[in-house]
C-alpha cells in the first residue's frame, strides 16, 4: 500500500451510547445520541460534515441516510459499509482514505446495530456455507479453537474463565458497558453451557448499540476539541484460503493484518500502551495476544495471569470491558473500540484510565467461512 500522497488524519470527536438491550428504539434513535455527542466533542455544527460513513451488518436499507435525516446532515455523500463484526471499522477506514486523499475535511463515521431485533440466540449465518449447513454456529467455532488450544498448550477451562473475569472487572468501571458487575472464575464456569468448553459468561452478550467519531486532517485538528488523536495507521484484510490441516489456534488473518500494519507504520507491539481487541469469546482474547505479537505462541495464559493485560499492567487489553463486558452490537463494535482508545489517549477514562497512554490499537475481525480463519479483519493504530 502506497501512502505517499496521503495527509495525516486525526480524530476530533467521539460518542457512544451505553450498549445493552434497547428494543423500543429504532436504528436511527440508537445512533443519534452517539452522533450528536461526537459532533459536540468536535465542536462542529452538523452542516460542517462533508460525508458520512456508516457501518452496520443488519440494519436494512441505507442506515446512514436514516440517521443523517434526523441530525441535520442531509445532502452529503453517505456510504454504508458491511463487513460483519468489522463493519464500522471498515467504515472508519474508508473515511480515513477519503480524508487522507483530500476529498473531504470533516467526516463522520458511525456504527450501529440492533441485535435484539433478530430475536436472540446465535447470529444467523450464510446457509450456503457447507459448515453452517451442517450445524456450525459462531460459539462452536471458537469452542473448537479453545478445545484445541487447551489440548496443545495444557491450559485449563479456569484459564479461559479468567479472561471473562478480567473483562467484567474492567467493564464494571465503564458506564457505557452492558455488564457492569464483576464475576468470578467459579461463576463463569458454572454459567449455562453454550458450546463446550465455552459457557454463557465466556460469550459476548446480545445487545444493541452505536458509536461515532469525527475525523479531519491533522493540520486543522488542533482547532477542534482539546486533544486530537492522530490515526497512525489503518489496515484491512480478508481471510486467506488455507486448505489442509491448518492450526486453528493461529488466527491467520489477525496475524497477517497486524504484521502488515506494524511494517507499514513502524509501530510494533512493544510500543502499544493500550488496546481493544475482538474478545467475542474468552479464547479469542488469548489467541489475539499471540497473533498481535503481545507474547509468543502458547504464552497467552501466562501473560494474562501476569496481570500485564489488566488495568495497571504493562499493556492493558480491553479496558472498556471488551466485547465480553461492554457488549458486541456487531456493526457498532469497531467504532466503539476507536471511541475507547481515543478517549484513553486523551486521558479521559476516569477509573479505567491507562496512565500515560500514548499509543493504542483497535482490532476487530469476524465472519466465519469454511476454509478461512475469518472473513475480515481491521486494525487501527492511534497516537498522541
Amino acid at each position: 500500500m502506497n501512502h505517499a500522497n496521503l495527509r495525516p488524519v486525526s480524530v476530533i470527536g467521539t460518542g457512544m451510547i451505553r450498549f445493552g438491550k434497547h428494543r423500543d428504539l429504532t436504528v436511527p434513535q440508537l445512533a443519534q445520541p452517539a452522533v450528536r455527542e461526537a459532533l459536540r466533542e468536535a465542536g462542529l455544527e452538523p452542516a460542517r460534515i462533508q460525508a458520512i460513513y456508516a457501518g452496520t451488518a443488519t440494519s436494512g436499507w441505507m442506515p446512514g441516510q436514516r440517521v443523517a435525516r434526523d441530525t441535520g446532515m442531509s445532502g452529503i455523500p453517505v456510504i454504508n459499509t458491511e463487513n460483519a463484526c468489522s463493519s464500522s471499522a471498515t467504515a472508519f477506514r474508508e473515511a480515513w482514505v477519503a480524508v487522507a486523499a483530500g476529498l473531504y475535511d470533516y467526516v463522520l463515521v458511525f456504527g450501529v446495530e440492533q441485535l435484539t431485533k433478530l430475536g436472540g440466540g446465535t447470529l444467523p449465518l450464510d446457509q450456503d456455507d457447507i459448515e453452517v449447513a451442517n450445524g456450525m454456529v459462531m460459539p462452536a467455532l471458537y469452542a473448537m479453537r479453545a478445545q484445541r488450544y487447551l489440548h496443545d498448550y495444557g491450559a485449563s477451562e479456569a484459564d479461559l474463565a479468567s479472561v471473562a473475569v478480567k473483562a467484567r472487572r474492567h467493564g464494571a468501571l465503564n458506564p457505557d458497558a452492558q455488564f457492569r458487575t464483576e464475576t468470578t472464575v467459579e461463576e463463569v464456569l458454572a454459567s449455562r453451557r453454550i458450546a463446550d468448553p465455552l459457557t454463557l459468561l465466556q460469550c459476548c452478550p446480545t445487545g444493541d448499540g452505536a458509536a461515532a467519531v469525527v475525523i479531519c486532517p491533522t493540520e486543522v485538528a488542533a482547532r477542534h476539541g482539546e486533544r486530537p488523536v492522530r490515526v497512525l495507521g489503518s489496515h484491512l484484510a480478508s481471510g486467506r484460503f488455507l486448505p489442509g490441516f491448518r492450526d486453528m489456534t493461529i488466527p491467520e488473518i489477525t496475524q497477517r493484518c497486524s504484521a502488515e500494519l506494524y511494517e507499514d507504520t513502524g509501530v510494533g507491539p512493544e510500543d502499544l500502551d493500550v488496546l481493544e481487541c475482538h474478545d467475542a469469546f474468552t479464547i479469542a482474547e488469548l489467541l489475539y495476544y499471540e497473533a498481535l505479537g503481545l507474547c509468543g505462541r502458547g504464552e497467552a495464559v501466562s501473560l494474562l495471569h501476569s496481570g500485564a493485560t489488566s488495568l495497571g499492567g504493562r499493556v492493558p487489553v480491553n479496558p472498556s470491558g471488551g466485547l465480553l463486558s461492554k457488549g458486541h452490537p456487531v456493526g457498532a463494535s469497531g467504532a466503539a473500540q476507536i471511541v475507547e482508545v481515543v478517549r484513553q489517549l486523551q486521558g479521559r477514562c476516569g477509573p479505567r484510565q491507562v496512565d500515560g497512554a500514548k499509543v493504542g490499537l483497535t482490532h476487530v475481525t469476524g465472519g466465519g467461512t469454511s476454509g478461512f480463519d475469518h472473513g475480515a479483519c481491521a486494525i487501527h493504530l492511534f497516537g498522541v
Binding site: 478445545q147 453454550i194 463446550d196
Partner: protein, 140 residues
C-alpha cells in the same frame, strides 16, 4: 461391526445440506466422500470444486477420501438456531488425503482431540426431488 454401524445409522444426525450424488465417489462398491485435487497446485478441497480456490485453475481431479481419520477438535453445541435439535456435536476430522472435513459426530462418548474416527455415509431421501447422501463421524 454391522451392529454398531446399524445403531449409528439410526442415530444419523439430520444435516441441513445433503451431499449430492456428485459429492460421493465409489471405491469399488464402497461410497466415499469425494474431494477434488488441483492438478496445477495440488490444493485439495471438500466438497469438490470445479475451480481451484488457491490458484483459480480449472483442472480439478476427483479425490476419493478415506473412511477413517483423526479428530482435530469438536464441540457439543447447546444453543443453536431453531432448525437444530440441541445438544449436538460437531467437529473437524483430518483425513489421510490432506483434507479436513467438518461434520456432525455421533455417538460422541469417549472422544478427545486426536482420536481416530470413522466417516459414516448413508443415502438420504429427505428431498424426494434430489435424493442425496448424508455423512457424519463416529468413533473408529
Amino acid at each position: 461391526m454391522p451392529d454398531s454401524n446399524a445403531a449409528a445409522v439410526r442415530m444419523a444426525p439430520r444435516t441441513g445440506r445433503q451431499l449430492r450424488e456428485g459429492d460421493v465417489a465409489w471405491v469399488g462398491s464402497e461410497p466415499r466422500l469425494r474431494a477434488a485435487r488441483c492438478l496445477d497446485c495440488d490444493t485439495r478441497v471438500f466438497p469438490a470444486a470445479t475451480v481451484c480456490p488457491s490458484c483459480n485453475g480449472e483442472r480439478m481431479a476427483e479425490l476419493p477420501l478415506s473412511d477413517t481419520g483423526t479428530l482435530y477438535a469438536f464441540s457439543t453445541v447447546h444453543i443453536a438456531p431453531a432448525m437444530w435439535q440441541t445438544p449436538y456435536t460437531i467437529g473437524y476430522v483430518d483425513l489421510p488425503e490432506g483434507v479436513r472435513v467438518f461434520g456432525k459426530i455421533e455417538p460422541v462418548a469417549g472422544l478427545a482431540p486426536d482420536a481416530r474416527v470413522r466417516v459414516c455415509l448413508e443415502q438420504a431421501d429427505d428431498d424426494a426431488q434430489a435424493p442425496g447422501w448424508r455423512y457424519w463421524f463416529a468413533a473408529a
